[in-house]
Amino acid sequence: MKVSFPIMGNSYVAFKQLVEQIGHEPVVPPLPSSRTMTLGTTYSPEFACIPFKILMGTYLEAIEKGAELIISSGGHGPCRAGYYGEVHQRIINELGYKTKVIIFDSVNMAFKDFFKKLHYILRTGKTSWWQFIKVYRTVWDKLLALDEIELLAHQVRPYEVEKGKTSEVYRRCLAIMDQARTRTQIKEAKEACFRLLQNISQDKSRKPLKIGIVGEIYVQIEPFANLDIQATLGEMGVFTKRGIHLSEWWMETTHQSHNEEKAVAAARPYLNQMIGGHGILSVGETILYARRGFDGVIQLAPFSCIPEIVAKSILTQVSRDYGIPVLTIFLDEQTGREGLRTRLEAFVDLLQQRRQKRLGGAVS
């Protein structure tokens, strides 16, 4: 079968291999563009959030490329994202396509359903469970490697001497990673990418500001949705750390890691209730960033995102209590980056001035 999946950051490089090695033909949708956006907004409900619309557009572009099956992740609410698949499927049917959308909800909440769907995909791909475990391990390595490379790129970028160099090298890294297939190859490719990134000429005398990024998972991870905010800030000489990477998210949902618990515990005095999405984490991670001495926090949220609106109303108080500036950016169907750049520059200026005040103005 021709199988497709959503584009979310760099993960498509790993998913492509996963689909391939369980015996299906991967259809990698085009990276989200303004055409994706136009398609998505045309067929989505007006007040669906931006992730819904970009995914809708991506699915339709995948269908144009012949996708017969789309695999995506779901959830159990109360954030809307867990119900996307249901509505996407209906809209796809309404438009007269036969393509099926298979949604994987969390392993723990819907164990049987999860394995039933997985079994169907493996059976149609003529892959045994045994083979699948092997493939899963390899792809997992790849996903981790991709995230590590991205993290390193964000670390290097504020120091780069030649503006835009890091992003250029990073794109090359993705191509290199795409070639790697076995676990050994992946390890070698990763090391090669690390070297490439480390060899970018850097000015180590700089003291970059540190900004933590919190908010809804999709707009944090997908550069198209957040207008490439991390690269933009990096090229302004700012170090950014975001709350979530896909590999971490997977570790959390399968209970192999416990970073989330720390954030939830930190949020407790302000918000003592899971409200779906990443709402509580936006509050908790802001507090953790403040404790770790970050200069500021940016909250990224889709326009009309429910949990993030709750978080925003609480973050004003957190910002006061911890003395950490928080900038909330609601993202929507806009192609103009200028408005965002203006706000980012103003925010960075503000953080610079605060830092100089703290250091007694001794920095020229």
Binding site: T42, D332, E333, Q334, G336, E338
Partner: protein, 321 residues
């Protein structure tokens, strides 16, 4: 001869039409409301009275538009109807067989789906006026281009710029940004037309079954750039009827004709143009809602009130309509 008067008072423009028994338009006026509906409706009446008063007898009147209550009092209306029904009635008469009506006015936009001459579905824009006439006027003003030339400029563009258009604020800031980048004016205008059309189709037209023949009316239908953008997006030709800017008023004439069958009209006569209408308002302190109650005096006599949510005031005088 017998004729019917239709009045459509919108927030931006006021339209008056007189039609004869055979549904032929005798006269039509398109005036700017300028926030003074009373004065403008009276001006319109005066103009029509001078032109037609000699040989026409008004047998029925219909009013529509956001100020229909007010208009009903000013002229004495036999039919008071909402704009959707009025527009649909006009189209089924003037463009028989039409299946879709796209209507874009000064502050409002609508889509009406018709099958076999009957409205089967409709939608109106939400609060936002992006993609309506006033927004276009505002942008033309900002770009220092007369709105009349907007259309032909857009048609000249070879590469329209993509402009985000979910709402006026976004569209405007995006436009400014594209200007700063140095795009040509005609490409920006064409891009704006496309953004407005996209916005209309995604907002008002979402999920609607748009089938030809498609009629395009309302003040914005004069803009060839928007028409072309619609034709490109829908991939079908649009019909712009002869009386595209006054269709609501045309519909009112037809509704008036239906309403007065065998009855005496409530029309106050052309002399109503010279009556002294005095709208006043007061804030009712009866409850925390603090309703703004509108009252109309005709030659010193209170004839109508509206605007109160509870009906305490409006029920105390003759009901409007």
């Amino acid at each position: 001869m017998k004729a019917y008067l239709g009045v459509d008072v919108g927030s931006v423009s006021t339209k008056l039409v007189v039609m004869d028994e055979n549904d032929e338009v005798l006269e039509s006026l398109y005036l700017r409301t300028q926030g003074q509906p009373v004065k403008i409706v009276q001006d319109g009446l005066r103009t029509l009275g001078e032109k037609l008063g000699q040989y026409v007898e008004i047998a029925g009147t219909g009013v529509t538009g956001s100020a229909r209550n007010l208009a009903a009092v000013l002229v004495g209306a036999d039919a008071v109807k909402n704009e959707i029904t009025a527009h649909a009635v006009a189209v089924s008469k003037l463009v028989p067989g039409a299946q879709t009506i796209l209507e874009i006015g000064g502050q409002d936009s609508k889509i009406i789906i018709m099958r076999d001459g009957i409205v089967t579905d409709f939608a109106m824009n939400t609060v936002c006026a992006a993609g309506t006439g006033s927004f276009l006027d505002h942008q033309a003003d900002r770009l220092k281009i007369p709105i009349e030339q907007f259309g032909e400029l857009a048609l000249r563009s070879k590469n329209p710029v993509r402009i985000a258009g979910r709402c006026a604020v976004f569209a405007e800031s995006d436009m400014i940004h594209k200007q700063q980048l140095g795009h040509a004016a005609e490409d920006i205008i064409a891009g704006l037309c496309e953004a407005l059309v996209r916005n209309y189709l995604n907002n008002v037209g979402k999920g609607k079954d748009i089938l030809p023949p498609v009629v395009f009316q309302g003040g914005v239908a004069a803009n060839t750039g928007i028409k072309a953008a619609f034709e490109k997006a829908l991939n079908m030709e649009l019909i712009v009827p002869q009386y595209f800017s006054v269709m609501g008023a045309v519909g009112c004439c037809l509704l008036a004709k239906e309403a007065v069958r065998g009855k005496q009209t409530k029309f106050k006569g052309w002399q109503a143009a010279e009556y002294k209408f005095q709208p006043t308002s007061f804030e009712c302190k009866g409850c925390p809602n603090l309703c703004e109650v509108i009252q109309i005096y005709e030659n010193g006599v209170l004839i109508a009130r509206w605007g109160d949510r509870c009906g305490k005031w409006s029920n105390a005088v003759v009901k409007v309509g």
